[in-house]
Symmetry: C2
Subunit: 193 residues, 2 copies
């Protein structure tokens, strides 16, 4: 089952240029027409590439989209000295880039698809974990500083902060504006009371 590339030594090497052109075309088309209207022929056309060149690299459309998605920026770590400052800086930076990238459309589509496609789910998992990592780091720093209790569930804490953003992204058609970050972080830290 291990289909290693075998890295052949002879023959024409695969064009790294074409590889990147395909990923770029995928991202720009994703942004323009969205996931469900994305066609492999469209990607090939925009990338100036034959369909076979795409299928030689990715077994199907889904892994291609996942890899293109993986190139998009995730959370960037900030160390401001306080948990509230870290969270606000990170999330604000993320949301600033969010609406101008294919993220807002691709993320829900892929999230929806993975429930039916275990293969996609496996590809998707590490990508998502990597995107969440800076959030975990900030929370861990807060625990070390004594800002958070030692026994706190870091995973749940992260989900509490990101949750309201996810809800707005998935359950409403609303845009995600960076200004929504501060009230969210404040409420998550204080609690509903």
């Amino acid at each position: 089952m291990t289909t290693e590339p075998e890295s052949p030594t002879a023959g024409r090497p695969r064009s790294e240029e074409a590889h990147q052109a395909i990923l770029d075309a995928t991202l720009s088309l994703l942004q323009e027409v969205g996931f469900s209207a994305l066609t492999v022929e469209g990607v090939a056309g925009r990338a100036g590439v034959g369909k076979a060149t795409i299928y030689r690299r990715w077994p199907s459309k889904l892994p291609l989209v996942v890899e293109a998605f993986g190139q998009l920026p995730g959370l960037e770590d900030h160390d401001t000295g306080s948990l509230a400052g870290d969270l606000k800086a990170m999330l604000r930076g993320y949301l600033s880039a969010f609406n101008d990238s294919p993220l807002a459309t691709v993320l829900p589509s892929l999230a929806g698809e993975r429930r039916h496609n275990p293969q996609l789910s496996e590809l998707f998992e590490p990508v998502m974990a990597g995107r969440r990592a800076p959030l975990q780091s900030a929370l861990r720093r807060a625990v070390e500083r004594g800002e958070l209790p030692d026994d706190i569930d870091l995973r749940l804490a992260a989900d509490l902060v990101v949750g309201p953003i996810a809800v707005r992204l998935f359950f409403t058609g609303a845009k995600l504006h960076p200004d929504m970050v501060d009230p969210i972080v404040d409420l998550a830290l204080r609690g509903l009371r």
Copy 2:
């Protein structure tokens, strides 16, 4: 743009039986094969109905799925006397039914699709609002009891509670177990601190 059914007085009336059979078949197939593998021909076959009978009622597959989805149970209001009790009872009840229904697969798929399909988004919006309503009611009662401050943003408060569940549903392949509810509600009420 208002395409009213015009409710014709003559001719054979549309079979309400077929209508329900189509919705039932849609739900059961949704559960079995998931959204992306759902075909209209499959629905017609299982419902014992011609494809034309489906397209006479719904203009495309998406509105059909939305209407079928609308038949699934949402949050059910509980009035236990305390906010924590209300939230835990509601969410636990919901999650109990969640994994055995097509909800876990259909919800993310539809949520992903709506970003590119304004028509779907319009159909989807009121359905989602109705599902959230009991949560808003419980929070409103808590404000009236003085359990929550008057100036709290009810929408944000609701998102804070539901958020961690949404994150797990969309960003991970994890099952949603009712036992996860209590820690979530407790943390949302107390805050990270």
